[in-house]
Subunit: 296 residues, 2 copies
Amino acid sequence: MAHRVPDLAALELLLAVARLGSLGRAARELGITQPAASGRIRSMERLLGVALVDRSPRGSRLTGAGALVTDWARRIVEAAEAFDAGAQALRDRRDSRLRVVASMTIAEYLLPGWLVALRARWPDTAVSLLVGNSAVVAERLLAGEADVGFVEGIGVPAGLDGVVVAQDRLVVVVAPGHAWARRRAPIGAAELAASPLILREEGSGTRAVLDAALGGLARPLLELSSTTAVKSAAVSGAGPAVLSELAVGEELAARRLVGIPVDGVRLRRELRAVWPVGHVPAGPVRQLLSLTRGVG
Amino acid sequence: MAHRVPDLAALELLLAVARLGSLGRAARELGITQPAASGRIRSMERLLGVALVDRSPRGSRLTGAGALVTDWARRIVEAAEAFDAGAQALRDRRDSRLRVVASMTIAEYLLPGWLVALRARWPDTAVSLLVGNSAVVAERLLAGEADVGFVEGIGVPAGLDGVVVAQDRLVVVVAPGHAWARRRAPIGAAELAASPLILREEGSGTRAVLDAALGGLARPLLELSSTTAVKSAAVSGAGPAVLSELAVGEELAARRLVGIPVDGVRLRRELRAVWPVGHVPAGPVRQLLSLTRGVG
DNA sequence: ATGAGGACATAACCTGGGCTTATGAGTGCT
DNA sequence: AGCACTCATAAGCCCAGGTTATGTCCTCAT
């Protein structure tokens, strides 16, 4: 698989060429020499079997295929940037200026994007990240070992203040081929509770919200231990699944999964930024919050 | 940037270790030796500055940080698979069994996912891909140079039959900091037509749909020549933008953009699979359609 | 207890991709 | 004409990452 996809450096080079219109300028921007860039693009074209750029004595322009490939490449590079931002935070365990402690869902799906944005606007803010459930978040904040926390759930842990930064909604999804994908009427609470569903295991946050909403009645068709596994099962048509909207945003947009409207069930939960009471967010914390809520 | 992100082979190895629970088995699956896998994981941990797997004499299990990193890595690998599927199709432009011609939006956002699924289920189907507007799609199909086409828009070009495979909806989006992000009431047609918007250039499919819906009245604040540019401008807070839901699914899920409800304007458009009249879809075409509509 | 087997680590060696510098050739502006 | 810009080619160097061969540790079955 990896054999047929150019490496990240090559993809970034391609994006730079697309943006700057010249191999040489792209090379300079990436800190390599022009022949290196030339060779890299050439070997990428050989790998893909498609001409990507039109060279001319006064610059290089993408071919039609090149434009398409560049768009696919951009997806990879963006995912890599999110990875990098998250990894960077994970690496700087202590002694960094902004210490974040967050729940798994937020750390997985939201934080990388925020960190990319944070670094774009305030490149000098060093961020560290710790992952844990609500209890861990509260403990670290109150011990002064973290500057800001993110939790999902109904309330704010004792001793903390907070604001809602996002809504998470659980959604019922099925593969496009499933019978439910063609129904017009929303599903009611009773029917949902009676239907066997693909779910996270008991004890997970997602499962807890669903059980609470239904009154502890969710019937498992499959119980899987990771969000990804649930998603894969649903995509492959095993049955209806209940998942965080955050986890399936891409699948819904691409129609690999279809969302089924639900009626009479409260499947929202708030995602909150939290901090010790009295500690008014300032400095880096405020910067981060401004990105998540758009108040800055 | 690329310096701090492991290469794709390393990320795939990490996913394999997570799945199989053993360095050696993961190595075997990827066709390399155990010491190579061991070294690769080690150098990845050195690069990230975080322990990713717990080695024991009876297997390897992910650490907490490792699980998080693995999830981020999965995003990159999935993007790479889509890239590969698209590139493969582009490469086999000639002499292949399933020749697809599609519009830009579909080729960029939907086809890669379909092709990954197609290859997973029918690995021997060689796919080729050509991109063009509706006229090009019709021309190729009628000339017998393509087996199936995908178009976006209101109707089916003359001489072709088709089915709707997905709905595309134009959405109005703003950055979370924009004033509209906090309004409760939907925007009406008149207000939308009166507001300066970030738009694709005139002549693009997206712009055509918007102009038609508003009666040719859209007021540009910025006119940009690519979907990506419009998206970037909107994310950076330049103003409200109108974009295909497909293009912003990820940004909406991650709350980098906020969708504004619109009232009284028909912003849907159908995405259709098309073929020459009389040509009942069969073989590979039918396989592909079964993935897009879930009827197979 | 003791030996077999699996899993990971270490060591020594080898190969090739990708970088660099140096240079040539085509185009257009002044 | 000549400068300034583009990209291509050639020759040489370096090291990341692979391989084979071995060592250590644990567990399980005889």
